[in-house]
Each structure stands twice: as structure tokens, then as C-alpha cells.
Symmetry: C2
Subunit: 431 residues, 2 copies
């Protein structure tokens, strides 16, 4: 790239797998990204678009130009085409849609009409469906002669005359059956169908739970309209895991590839909330100013109580958020879980009360301060265990994402309770 030798660069990157080429674009800086895209020009592999991170895709789409973009979108399977177009503004979508063939256009437009993060957005329209009265032989002959098939498929769907799915037939099973056998006789009649409006997280859950590689998607009338394959689900699983991890720390998902200003701005709001809660905690300390004036050791020790509560609470919180995401924590076992976490908090609270008490006794030579520290520690860690579970469970019940705001709530509680218990007990018993 540095040599500016476009032809040599082209020869070097041409053999790359689309996924690897997408990685190369992602890791490059802005001007390099532009160079990489323009040097490939009209030989740009449409699959690269599908592999790119959203933020980066948005950046490079203008470099491609509408013609190449329209060509690329038309060449992609419908799920990828919908994903790429879904990020353009309406004018951009209209421009590209006008440039692609009518048949593809209808499919893509339909895909765009489904809600973001729904099964409809995830599915591809291309499926292989055969009528129930067909034999294995007829099916294989159909596959051999029919050109318009999806590139990759792992199951066939057996349908009735109204296109309602009756069963699912794995290719490995089709291949092992003799030609005169009816597909209806070897299909799996107990299979999982996915409603087009289903949330992508639920789709991922189904695939994971039952080890699926593909599943039929149906509309409200149970008509087969597409299929979802496991590779799309793997992306969803990654996305959802990333979302939880990032949200717990108050970071947007597109953070890594975002620009400097965008990143700074997106982090700002979370930090602003934290500033407010830190000020609230400071307000609690401020209420005990005269106590601290009389006994500065309190100011030295108080962060220990708050910090231990925060950490113990975060442990409970993280387990709860993950268990909620994996549907392992439900209404049936929530009470059991809260009790367990609160008990764990109490047990560790007592243990650390002893430890911290001993340390502070040696440090300040004052058994009374040590006793107050120990008491505050137990209180804060019990509260931490209880709130670390109740906050995410409560958010989940209110149909809010338990990952998104729970850390702020939790640390506010553990800071306020920690400072208040410690300084309050101190001014009651010691002053």
C-alpha cells in the first residue's frame, strides 16, 4: 500500500477469502480502507460486504458507488442483502433497490419490512421444499436438474400444497434412503418451526438447545417463507454475548471500529450517569463531615467497605445477567437464586468482616473502629448479594435489558449503603 503500487496490491489481495479481506479492511485506517476498496473496484466480492462490521461497512459503501453496490446486493443471498441495505438511509436504499433486478428487489424489500433483530431479518428466502408425495428419487432428480437452489443447505422441508411445512429432512438422511421411499416416510415430523416475528435471541436459543443446523421460517398462516441457517445464528450468539459484556461496562457495541469522536461521545453518557451516582455517594459522606473531622481514620477505611460491597455485588450481578440471557434463570427458580446469592454474600461478608476488622485493628490500634468496620462490611455484603440479583431480575421483569443499567444501580446502592453504614455506625458508637 505504501508503495502506491495498485496492481501489485491487487494481485496480493485477490486470493483472499472474503472473510479475511473483510478483516484486512477492518484493521486498516481510513485512507487505507478506501484504497483497498477502490483498487479491487468492480471485482469486489459481494460476500465481503456481508462479513464486514457494520460501522466499517457504512464507511466503505460510498467508495463502491451505487452500480457496484447494486450488483453486489443482487448477488448476495437475501438475508445478507437485507442486512447490507438495512443500514443505508432511505434515499440510499431506494437508489440501490432501483438498480437491482425486479425479482431480487421484491425479496429484499420484503426482508426490510421485518423488524430489526427478528427472524425475518435473519432468514434467507431461498429454501428447498418438496411436496409430501414425492419419493427420494424424485427429490434427488429435482435437485440435480433445478438450477435455482440456495448455495448451502442442510435440510429439505416437506410441504403440503399450501406450502405449510409438514416435516424436515436432513440431507444425510435423504442420501441414506432408497429411491422409491417417500420423503414423507423418512422426514422428521417433530421439528421446530420459527415464526417470522420471533426475536433473534429466541432463535439462537432454539438452535443452541436442540443443536439445529437449519430451521424453516413460517408466517402467521404457517406458510413456509424462508429458512435460517446456523452460520447466521453463530453471528447472533456472538453479537448477544458481546452486547451483554459491553453493556455491563457501559460501552456501545460498535465501539472498537468507531471513530475517536463517536467513541468519546458514546462513552460520555455512561460516565455522566456514573458522575451523578458518585456525587450521590459523596453526598452521604458529606453528611458525616463532622464525624470524619473528629476521626480521620474513618476516611481512610471507608473506601474498603464500599469497594468490597461493589465487587461482591458485581459477582452476583454477572451470574444473574448471564443466567437470564441463557434462560437458565426463570420465574421458577428466581427465589432460590436470590436466597442463594444473599446467603453467599452473608457468608463472605462475615469472613471479610473478620479479616478487615483484624487488619484495621492492627493498623489503627482501635478495636472499636475495627468492630464498626466489621459490622458495616457484613451489612454491605448482604445488601450486595441481594441487590446484585434483584436488580437484574427486576429489570428483566420490566422487559428491560438486565445488562444495560444494572451496574450503575448496583454500585450506587453498594456505595451509598457502604458509606452510610460505616459512617453512621461510627458516629453512633464512637463519637
Amino acid at each position: 500500500m505504501d508503495e502506491g503500487n495498485g496492481r501489485r496490491l491487487y494481485r496480493l489481495i485477490r486470493p483472499l477469502h472474503p472473510a479475511d479481506f473483510a478483516d484486512l479492511i477492518e484493521r486498516s485506517s481510513g485512507p487505507e480502507r478506501r484504497l483497498l476498496v477502490t483498487v479491487v473496484g468492480r471485482f469486489f466480492d459481494p460476500d465481503i460486504l456481508a462479513e464486514l462490521d457494520e460501522t466499517v461497512r457504512e464507511e466503505i459503501i460510498p467508495y463502491l458507488g451505487d452500480d457496484i453496490l447494486a450488483q453486489a446486493v443482487a448477488a448476495l443471498p437475501s438475508d445478507d442483502a437485507v442486512e447490507v441495505l438495512g443500514e443505508l438511509d432511505e434515499a440510499g436504499q431506494a437508489r440501490v433497490l432501483r438498480a437491482i433486478p425486479e425479482r431480487d428487489r421484491v425479496l429484499v424489500e420484503e426482508g426490510l419490512s421485518y423488524e430489526d433483530e427478528s427472524a425475518g431479518r435473519l432468514m434467507q428466502r431461498e429454501t428447498v421444499a418438496v411436496p409430501q408425495h414425492w419419493t427420494v428419487g424424485q427429490t434427488i432428480d429435482f435437485l440435480r436438474t433445478h438450477q435455482e437452489l440456495p448455495n448451502d443447505f442442510y435440510d429439505l422441508f416437506v410441504i403440503d400444497p399450501e406450502r405449510r411445512p409438514l416435516g424436515k429432512l436432513a440431507l444425510s438422511r435423504l442420501l441414506r434412503a432408497k429411491r422409491p421411499v417417500l420423503v414423507a416416510d423418512i422426514m422428521e415430523a417433530r421439528f421446530h418451526r420459527i415464526l417470522v416475528h420471533m426475536d433473534q435471541e429466541d432463535v439462537a436459543m432454539l438452535f443452541r438447545q436442540y443443536g439445529l443446523v437449519s430451521a424453516p421460517v413460517v408466517d402467521e398462516d404457517d406458510i413456509l417463507i424462508g429458512m435460517i441457517t446456523v452460520d447466521d445464528v453463530v453471528d447472533v450468539i456472538d453479537e448477544e454475548a458481546e452486547e451483554d459484556l459491553m453493556r455491563l461496562a457501559g460501552v456501545a457495541e460498535d465501539d472498537l471500529h468507531g471513530g475517536l469522536v463517536a467513541t468519546t461521545r458514546s462513552r460520555f453518557s455512561w460516565l455522566a450517569v456514573n458522575l451523578v451516582t458518585a456525587i450521590v455517594a459523596s453526598g452521604v459522606i458529606g453528611a458525616f463531615e463532622t464525624t470524619i473531622e473528629k476521626m480521620v481514620a474513618l476516611a481512610v477505611l471507608m473506601p474498603i467497605v464500599a469497594s468490597m460491597g461493589g465487587n461482591a455485588g458485581t459477582q452476583s450481578l454477572t451470574v444473574a445477567v448471564r443466567a437470564l440471557a441463557m434462560r437458565e434463570l426463570t420465574a421458577t427458580n428466581a427465589a432460590k437464586f436470590v436466597i442463594k446469592e444473599t446467603t453467599v454474600g452473608s457468608l463472605n461478608g462475615v469472613a471479610f468482616a473478620l479479616l478487615a476488622g483484624i487488619v484495621s485493628w492492627i493498623w489503627f490500634g482501635d478495636p472499636q473502629i475495627a468492630a464498626v468496620l466489621a459490622m458495616a462490611m457484613v451489612i454491605n455484603m448482604v445488601v450486595a448479594g441481594f441487590c446484585g440479583t434483584m436488580i437484574p431480575i427486576g429489570l428483566d421483569r420490566m422487559k428491560l435489558d438486565p445488562a444495560i443499567a444494572s451496574t450503575v444501580f448496583l454500585t450506587t446502592v453498594t456505595d451509598v449503603v457502604g458509606f452510610f453504614a460505616f459512617l453512621g455506625l461510627a458516629s453512633y458508637f464512637l463519637i
Copy 2:
């Protein structure tokens, strides 16, 4: 269950999918788990074992008895059998191995000889491999007549006479070719083979990057010895994501299903480390005791500096840990990433220095305290951005898991720097 009506219970749970039955066991309490397992007795579906969480599986295995367990292990695909047995102690393994048929035993023993979390542990030994000179017709006839095939497979592997893989053939492609065509002519000759010692995280990376559904596993001599399918990889992806999330909060992975004592104990060590770091931070405050004595407002404001640094640092840290796990942060872009994060830290540092300065000025009516707070805030947030990226990158370079210890390091740094900068500047300028 409460009625103690075993027969009715049996009729209710019999139709459950193994994955759902495993969920039911996981969500039940100890005695209920025992009841669920014993009521099914010798009709216990082996697949349930494969679906269970490790901790719970360990608990219920004794209820099954060696006979049923051996039967179950023999019935499972080799990868699942290895997983189940891998958790027993040596005596338990030997007992079960003695009870299963010789042929299965050899495969399982071999599987157990591979390292934990390696491709060898993940693979199943059952594959479908055909010689390169075969035609499509021969292959289909072989599949139709041969009984000993894996239950689910999505690709065939084309091999040479030494069993070295030459290509990979998707079933959907096989089905679309005419009978006289040679498999060697339609196979993909560019495919990804997996070395048996490869780490499972790298396996997941390959599947994710290239959208694979199955891949051949080879030994050091490039001989085909098994295959890995995408459903196992989905489990790995879940596991690895969970690991990162849990480790960042200092929780063990089997935490949710662990008993009360085990959970309390496993959380204890992390909290103990945090107690030490909290005491170190308190030591920094202790060094400024006389300063605080003269100006109690400092004790009120100091947690704000530490808390903002901790939060800003955690944002950088989380992005870094995720990017390292997804191989998006490598030696080539590490410097760029550290610079970006440090700059984001500085920009937000200046913004929050202003905000916090104004608030504290209004609160305490003292512009000098406000100025010191603002300066300390900038310093701590720049340090947070820098260390939030350097700590995980450094741990990763030292071949350590960046998720496991980085939060402790980071908050120690931001607490110490926060308190030291604020109190240090205050005693220099104000006292």
C-alpha cells in the same frame, strides 16, 4: 413430584426432548434431581448426559449406577462420551470403560488422551470418508448400504489411500451432481483442516470466520481421524463468551449450578485479592491523613476521582478483552488502539474535569478545591484509558488470559492514582 407418584411423573417427562429434560434436572433442587433420574432409571436417554451442565452431571452420575452409565456412554457419539467420562475420577473412568464394548472403549480412551479444550476432545471419531476415484453414484450407493455412519453429517471428506484428506464435499453439492461425476471433480480442494492439538478457541474462530458446518480433524501426519461439527462449536462459543464475562467479574464458570459452600469459597479468593488492593488504596489515603484533617471536603470528594477513573478504565478494558478474544486486536493494530483509548480517556477526562469542577465549586464554594479535583480527574482518566488497554494487551502477550486478572490490576491503578493525584495535589496547592 410432590405427590410422590412415580409412574405419573414418568409419563409426564418421558416425551421431553433430552435437552429439555436436562434443563428440568438443572433447575430442580438436589433431592428432586435424584428423583428425576431414578424414576427414569434404565430408560434414561444418553443424550441427556451430553446436554447437562458439568456440575450437575457430576452430581447425578452416581444416581445412575455404573451399568446404566456404561450403556449410556457406549450409546453416545464419541465426542459426547469423552466429555462425560472426562469429568469422572480415574477409578470411575476405569469402571465405566470396563463395562463398555471393546471398539467403543478404544475410541473413548484415545479421546481422553487428548488435552482438555483441544480439537481432539471436541471431535467425533465417526466421519464419512470416500476415496478420490469414486463417483457420485458409488458414494450414494455406499451411503445407502452402509449402516455404520454418524447420525448427522453435512460434509463428506475425500481421502487418498493413506487417509489423508484431499477435499471436502458438501452433501448439498453431492446431491446436485450426476451419478457418473467423480467426487474429486466436485469436491472443494481448498478447505480448512483442523490439527488435533488445536485449541478449541481457535477451532471456534475458524468456524466463525469461514461459516463452516463441519471440518475434518487430522493428526500430525495429516491423517483424517475425526470431524468437528458446528453444534459442538456453538457450545464452545457460548463457553468462551461466558468465561470472559465471568472472569472479568471474578466468578467461576460453574457458579450458577454450584452448591452454596462451593460458590462462597470460589468467590472468596477474588474478594480476598480485592481486599488487599482496597487496603493498598486506603494506605494511600492514610499517607495524607493530616491533609484530610485540615480539609474534610477532600474526604468527601476523593471517591469521585477514583470512581470515574475506574469506570472509564473498565470501558477501555472491556473493549480490549472482547477484541482480543475475537482476534480483532492483534500486534498490527495494538499501538493504534492504545493511542485511541488514551485519547478518548483524555477527551472525556477534560469534559468531566469541567463538570466535576463546577459541581464541587458550587458545593464547597472553593474554586481551589474545584481546580485540584479537575486536575486529578484528567490525570486519572488518561491513566485509566492507557492502563485499561495496556493491562489486557500485556497479559495476552505473556500468554495469560486477559480477562482473568485485569480488572483487579486496573482498579488498583485507578484507585491509587486517583487518591494520590487528588490528595497529593491538594496538599501541595491548598495546605
